[in-house]
Amino acid sequence: MQFFERLQFIDRRILFLFLAAALILPFFFPFQQKILITQEVKNFHRTIDSLPEGAVVAISFDYGPSAMPEINPMARAMIEQIFQKNLKLITYALWQDGEPFSIQIPEELAKQHQKIYGEHYVTLGFKPGRVAVILQMGEDIHTAFPMDSKGTRISDIPLMKNIRNYSDLNLLIDLAAGADPDLYVGYAVERYHIPFQAGVTAVMAANFYPYLQTRQMKGLLPGLKGASEYEFMVTQANSRQVTQMMASQSLVHLIMVLFILLGNMGYFLTKSYKKQTQQKGRG
């Protein structure tokens, strides 16, 4: 086999080795990178920033452990911004695996900001049904979530006394690993006209740009890059964790592109060589 033919068939274990090196090395040799903030992330930040003190924000945690590395940094930065601005927070989950994150992340940050459960934030836990819950929250949250995550009737919680449905919320945010933002836009935004924005995994991000253009979604955080941009806007610096993850991400992307280009180079050179050989054969 010619050299350029071999370029197309490099053993995948060599690729895996390069990828592993690109993944692991930045953990030991971290490097800072310039963060370019995109417009959709700026809009996301501005939407929360423009809310008055005491406004109520609801966050839906619709992801599982498989999306944790991308979405947990977004969730932390979001709740950080909400608590910094003294907004009220309600969290819940429509995915069963999102329930622990919807409870633990707010509690962790509430301790840092001295926020009181029931007064400044409430965690409602998980509810099965997705579309049914989204619709019912538009009518009466107290019947969609009769109890909070601690087993207290939500009518007994001070924060929830005056919150009956979407019209009592100022902003709804969905942290999603699936197509839940589509459901929120269709069943909550269009029906009940609640301001809405989402933080999503990069897999789904490309699908939601039409909603940004129609302003059905006020802002969007797409994947880990979106998380790093947003975290930078909220805290003016990236956490060590996100910095190292972005460094690994950069290197892996570079290596993948190089290998794809190598494979294509081998393909075109092989094709050209075969064409030349055929022409010589005819001649």
Partner: protein
């Protein structure tokens, strides 16, 4: 890039037992998680019994987790708690099981019975497992759920995914038009807005299979449609790579930091 900094490598693996604090359940949990992660990663070499073992546990714990969560958040909260919503919660909390049943019977007129309709319907899903003769009863809850879902889906899809998107497309032109009036007109914005409109029409035409895509107009527009779809797929692929790599980085971080303690921050 700023200057590279070399992190001093430490080695502080998660501890299952220490002389000061004794047995650590969290430490044990980290070791189990790490070993299971490595079992899953062993699939990169080839399919093997360790991977299959981890996979079997995954299936079991996923469904088991759903059972636990749905029992408390679905059935207990939305059936039982709604039924007793008019009763005093403090009184109920202090009663033991049989006392509670007696109390509920005494206050039967204060109970909300509507959730029981849904509970009965939901339990009908079990009918195929109980008796073949009455297995048809399982179609009732599914018919309700699908009818309910279809009924709410029609206006939602029409409003959000068709009318609003049509509005968004035409609105883009009105934004360009407004820029003409306020002096911020940019020919490129108008060009790209036309490209967007062309792309939407071409994509819709490509997916319309009731008419043949032939001729320079029919075939040409369909070809243009597939080009736009390919650009969309390319963007989706680029994003998907990012997502999957992020997950892998998350796992590597867990193994290096939480398990082996090779990095600290």
């Amino acid at each position: 890039m700023n200057t590279l900094t070399m992190l001093a490598i430490s080695f502080q693996p998660a501890k299952v037992w220490t002389p000061d604090t004794g047995f650590s359940l969290d430490g044990l949990g980290i070791w189990i998680s790490a070993i299971l992660s490595l079992f899953i990663f062993s699939f990169l070499y080839k399919d093997n019994p360790l991977y299959k073992f981890a996979e079997s546990i995954f299936v079991g714990v996923s469904i088991g987790y759903l059972v636990g969560i749905v029992y408390h958040n679905g059935i207990e909260a939305n059936v039982y708690q709604v039924m007793v919503s008019k009763l005093d919660p403090a009184t109920l909390k202090n009663l033991h099981y049989f006392q509670e049943i007696k109390y509920l019977i005494q206050h039967y007129h204060s109970l909300d019975y509507w959730p029981l309709v849904a509970l009965v319907m939901g339990l009908l899903t079990l009918s195929p497992f109980l008796t073949a003769r009455h297995a048809w009863l399982t179609s009732i809850p599914f018919a309700f759920y699908m009818g309910w879902g279809s009924g709410v889906a029609i206006p939602a899809n029409m409003q959000a995914a068709i009318l609003a998107q049509l509005y968004g497309t035409t609105y883009a032109f009105s934004v360009v038009g407004a820029s003409l009036l306020n002096g911020t007109f940019n020919l490129w914005n108008l060009l790209w807005t036309f490209v967007m409109l062309l792309g939407i029409v071409a994509t819709l035409w490509y997916f319309y299979f009731s008419a043949e895509h032939k001729g320079w107009l029919g075939g040409g527009v369909a070809r243009l449609g597939i080009w736009f779809v390919m650009v969309g797929f390319g963007a989706a692929f680029g994003f998907t790579v990012m997502a999957r790599v992020s997950l892998l980085i998350g796992r590597i971080e867990f193994l290096l930091k939480d398990w082996l303690g090779l990095i600290t921050y």
